[in-house]
Symmetry: C2
Subunit: 233 residues, 2 copies
Amino acid sequence: MARLTTIGFDADDTLWENEHFFRLTHAHFAELLADYAEPDVLSRTLLETEMRNLARYGFGIKGFTLSMIETAIEVTGGKVPGAVIGRIVNAGREMLAHPVDTLPNVHETLETMTRDHTLVLITKGDLFDQERKLAQSGLGEFFDAVEIVSDKTASTYRSAFARHGTGPEAAMMVGNSLRSDVIPAIEAGGWGTHVPHTLTWDYERAEPPVEAERFNAIGSLAQLPGLVETLKG
Amino acid sequence: MARLTTIGFDADDTLWENEHFFRLTHAHFAELLADYAEPDVLSRTLLETEMRNLARYGFGIKGFTLSMIETAIEVTGGKVPGAVIGRIVNAGREMLAHPVDTLPNVHETLETMTRDHTLVLITKGDLFDQERKLAQSGLGEFFDAVEIVSDKTASTYRSAFARHGTGPEAAMMVGNSLRSDVIPAIEAGGWGTHVPHTLTWDYERAEPPVEAERFNAIGSLAQLPGLVETLKG
């Protein structure tokens, strides 16, 4: 097989907790609007609002906060009190200050993999927030490059792995999102390795590309060095 | 002098209109809250809120929209109607869809400068929004690299000009902000060229570094090729 020179890592819910904080905020949001909307109607409206706004806001917490505000106005027919909106703004701001909880085995895996590979962090979301999380995680030293991108498509991986490695054919993308990490990396000509997280945003779900030769799934990042060895063997 | 190999360009209010749209939204915001606050009190509160939030939101329209909402809640003591908040959200979203109005002489200047120099676009703000504007501007083809950064400090320019050029000593940054474009580029060891715009956000103001050898000011981008020739002569 072609040499595997470069490994791309997703960040949110691959290296550190993220969806967990969205879920907490979600629950808080449902409480704030309990007098106005059933939790499942609220959830559905919020997801619809988020999807509609992606084309305008892109991914990230600031866009999510604006979508919560819009949803609150919509489900209350404009009657939501200003003070409740203020609490939603605060909830969004608290998310931007949440601690960075590194997932198990991340440190050891990066330490091992960085010895023989070019490591690239490839993440979407708010530029400023992702930089903060990377700095707080203390994981920056393991990476040869960091790409904070507005979306993750095959073309994202083609150019990231060309710029920082030796092209997508010699690269593997590792992440918890089939839709954003695994499938487009395989489409770009690379390997795609899925490391599922117990919490995954509906948007990121997709059918695993089980037919693809370069698709793999591992239960934990701890299995990555072993998988890469096997591929080389 | 050292050879000038690389030229960095700011984008907002250097290549295309930006502050203009903020001012329009500002005026709209003041109208929406005319029953609750004097325009100058509102302006002052909004600027204070923006400054306080920079450390959390960074630069860009989404953070600005959230700061407008927070200000509306603050100046009304929480009494702002949900419908007014809805209009503020819409105003922010409209900014994210505003047309890209290229400033005079931009096209010709970039076309001339790209022949003999590496051109790098260095801009801050929302990643997604800046990518949209660059795509709509049609100016992407003139640039060898694009850096969308969370802030513009001397260290930003040191690394951007090392990555895409031959180091800051051989680079010039061109922009309308003394604070973000000119002063930190000079601090990094490069040239800083100020192209003032009639509208400049208070945050971006600073004393021109008139003592600095590598500081220049030009009235229009059309003067840039001439200035660069002089420096080489």
